[in-house]
Symmetry: C2
Amino acid sequence: MTQTVDRSAPTDTPQARVDAWLARFEAALAARDLPAAAGLFAAECYWRDLVSFTWNITTVEGRQGVTDLLAACLDGTAAAGFRTTETPSEADGITEAWIEFETVTGRGTGHLRLTGEGAWTLLTSLSELKGFEEPRQERRPRGVEHTVTPDRRTWAEDRALEQEQLGYQRQPYVLVVGGGQGGIALGARLRQLGVPALVVERNERAGDSWRKRYKTLCLHDPVWYDHLPYLPFPDNWPVFSPKDKIADWLESYTRVMEVPYWTRAEVTSASWDDESKRWTVTVDRDGTDTVLTPRHLVFATGVSGKPTLPSFPGMESFEGDQHHSSRHPGPDAYAGKKAVVIGSNNSAHDICAALWEHDADVTMVQRSSTHVVKSASLMELGMGDLYSERAVRAGITTEKADMIFASIPYRLMAQFQIPIYEKIRERDADFYARLEAAGFRHDWGEDGSGLFMKYLRRGSGYYIDVGASELVADGRIKVAHGQVDHLTRAGVVLEDGTELAADVVVYATGYGSMNGWVADLVDRETAERVGKCWGLGSGTTKDPGPWEGEQRNMWKPTRQEGLWFHGGNLHQSRHYSRYLALQLKARYEGIPTPVYGVPEPHHRA
Amino acid sequence: MTQTVDRSAPTDTPQARVDAWLARFEAALAARDLPAAAGLFAAECYWRDLVSFTWNITTVEGRQGVTDLLAACLDGTAAAGFRTTETPSEADGITEAWIEFETVTGRGTGHLRLTGEGAWTLLTSLSELKGFEEPRQERRPRGVEHTVTPDRRTWAEDRALEQEQLGYQRQPYVLVVGGGQGGIALGARLRQLGVPALVVERNERAGDSWRKRYKTLCLHDPVWYDHLPYLPFPDNWPVFSPKDKIADWLESYTRVMEVPYWTRAEVTSASWDDESKRWTVTVDRDGTDTVLTPRHLVFATGVSGKPTLPSFPGMESFEGDQHHSSRHPGPDAYAGKKAVVIGSNNSAHDICAALWEHDADVTMVQRSSTHVVKSASLMELGMGDLYSERAVRAGITTEKADMIFASIPYRLMAQFQIPIYEKIRERDADFYARLEAAGFRHDWGEDGSGLFMKYLRRGSGYYIDVGASELVADGRIKVAHGQVDHLTRAGVVLEDGTELAADVVVYATGYGSMNGWVADLVDRETAERVGKCWGLGSGTTKDPGPWEGEQRNMWKPTRQEGLWFHGGNLHQSRHYSRYLALQLKARYEGIPTPVYGVPEPHHRA
């Protein structure tokens, strides 16, 4: 499978340059010549690997990083067969190529950016495990055996038997806690890969994690960004799905993808037995305790799943309604009432707008500055090249868009993002001027890198404006500033003494790290050993260093054997569920999975 | 929009020939020069139109047919802008081209086959109505208005209100009777086009028309042939869907496509008022009569929906179980029992095989010869070029395959089919020899054109072998021959005196013409005025002449204003629902729809 450079071919084309680089890289790997391999990279370089070399999601930086990675992973990987999958392109002195390759266990795809100095970025990712390819296209099941045999069971009988036995006579190999978009996407992938898994969801129906939220909620991300694995939305699907529509889709998807799924099933405790290498998990299924003993436990409980409810003095004596934004019932009961919403991010804005629409008197309490970007600007300038009808027409499938996005190392991502927000700042200058004139405190992120970096670093601190900012700008939603000091029987008092009368107080105060669920269900010691989830270690607000290079603990091995975290927006649920599922499949099949570079946890929560 | 031939281009390429033909055709239409237009066709020629020129589904033959069609339709159509949509090809002296064009009301696509003499076949079809394009891709709904307005209703509230009002405060413009695959596909298209429609289904759940059939049933057509509009099956879908899986899909599809759909709703009577131009339809909805007044009534009750139950002497005194195949409960209750199945087509074979699998003693009564083709051979030789993974890889999307299929006039189709069955006869010679040696009477259709022509002509007379034929060949399913004379208390007696003891008799005796439903629900006079549905008028068994050139009464205007028939396999439900929906949409929007060539009915049922 080794490629050689055709000496007669022109050497100054992007294709020739990439072919030559790949041939040298492969030769260096074959010769186990680490200096030669590292020397093919530029001094500033990034190699991002999604479980193809490292059985981890990790990015190494610099030639030393490349050398470290190869020293640890080369022998077990035996990567070869590097080749381009389409003609490379060149722009601004950077040659870009889509590549594929094989390892001893799997087939991979990747992306390469070359400068005159060598490789600037390299992405390698595992696509499938050899011998365990998914049953799709030519490999799809026949559905019926075209022979006739006595006592043949039908599909419906097989499904019924499976549902009856799973969790009782047969234990799942993987238990996925939480059946929102993340759990469902992962469940679908594990189903496809033939890994016995079970998704447990505490609500009554799949989709309830959306269905039960405030009634005016719509996805803030556009449809092209939101597809689930295997079954994309039809092309009549709305750009921004209303919550009940996406909920219905998730419910239907769970059924047609045959995801093993329990509703009304809440995990109440879990413990790891290091001898049997199994979890003991107690699930309250519709009022009855059931004990499951999976080998792997995946928390798919939502990056925004663990509400942070503040404890202000006087809350217990407040006589109106008060609740976290995740429990907000919607505006219907509050017409003519005084509402105070603590917080100024997405949920706060959506809830304030809906309350205003229903004739409530609304005050938003802004505790710190917030980044706002108009949805249309974000769609056009921030996402349009990858996720839009325009992108689809240009041949950027969702899968390709995901890989383009994945090819940008997090260290470089801010510098890719800053120019987008400079354009938005210019385009919407009047909007920002009006917003700030109304007293709203606005920021662009500490380095001006805007919304997506705030999402990746801290998962908070922004609002995608779908209309509420106009209400703020013209004073229909009032804005107060500062920290809450205490509540009275009839309202909220801020630190500067401002008193806000309230019939209802909504705490749009965000969510805690996902390892908080581990503290609740396993124990605090395990939660702290695993450490904080999410964030890059950028050293910006709410994302303390040191630099991690990847999202902490997400979709990859943690410091607790058999414990995993899955989550994020629909894009991340779709894309990273692939790599998490492949990691679990490899373990299920007994394929060696030596993990390179599990980071030390630096933050407990 | 007129194209002219570039004189400098080579004139001997397929592209040049097609461009020249289209330019001359368009010029002749513009000049209203019927002889010139007809003269561009070969002496043997076929023009098939799917509602773009004729507001009908019709095929004209010969230059006289072309002249007739144009004389009637030219003025109202103003067709122009004919051009190729991809590079034409040539093989065996025939140049083939995909084309597009516009009319005064819509945009169309089509297909052209040229010989040296002129056009041999022309397909023209309406794709969309100008000004009423479907909200897809760039035109998809936003899902949320990015403004904030008081008392905005959510998607869920709108849907709930619609469901509450439809059929009560608001009348559907179209009532679709029957919510199987046909009704659902049409319902989805009408929804997309914004035509107020309601689908009524007598069963408890969407999909029950499959779910309630015998438990071993799987689709006999492969997945590539079975996609519904808008939302194709994912690529992990089995080749042959088990009935419960396709049922679940239909149920989910109905919901995610937002098809207005009543379950437990059975039409009990319908009458047309020629003054108000409306139907009065009584629907028993979950035990309560509801009167609907739609403008159009579509029977989507299943081409195989109206069971033909024979009346043999002695049936009333038979002491075992007896039922039509459509009511067969499956084999579970018949282990160790004697089963006699009257009939030898698809249902008979499936039911016999399942009974044999469950240890019944099974006799099939073959009343006339049957065409059998092995599923694998049909897939590979009969469908593989259009509907298969191989076709998908060759760029033959389902939509393109449908159009290729549609481009072959029914008059020519048998001659396209015969060579396929000659190959199958050769390939499976041993199989047929064994089958016939076991006494099974086999045929290839009267002209050797095989299964698909039997389907189109009579909808019966064949079995797609998914295993039962082997049981017949080796005698595990016994075969008796001849007509049933009468039943006794304990069995079936054939005309030759053969007595077959039976604990259960299954009448796999097929289905009647869909206009039988009209007789039941409207009246016999209307049913007879409309006449027989299905069949081509080929003059072969069960498809008496005269030649119709299209499926009788299907998906097009009938002799009863406001009365339509929709149905067929999943391919036909998908493809023809488009043209039926466009016809209904045009009427809903008040677009003139002068119909060319509604045939005289020649057969009552």
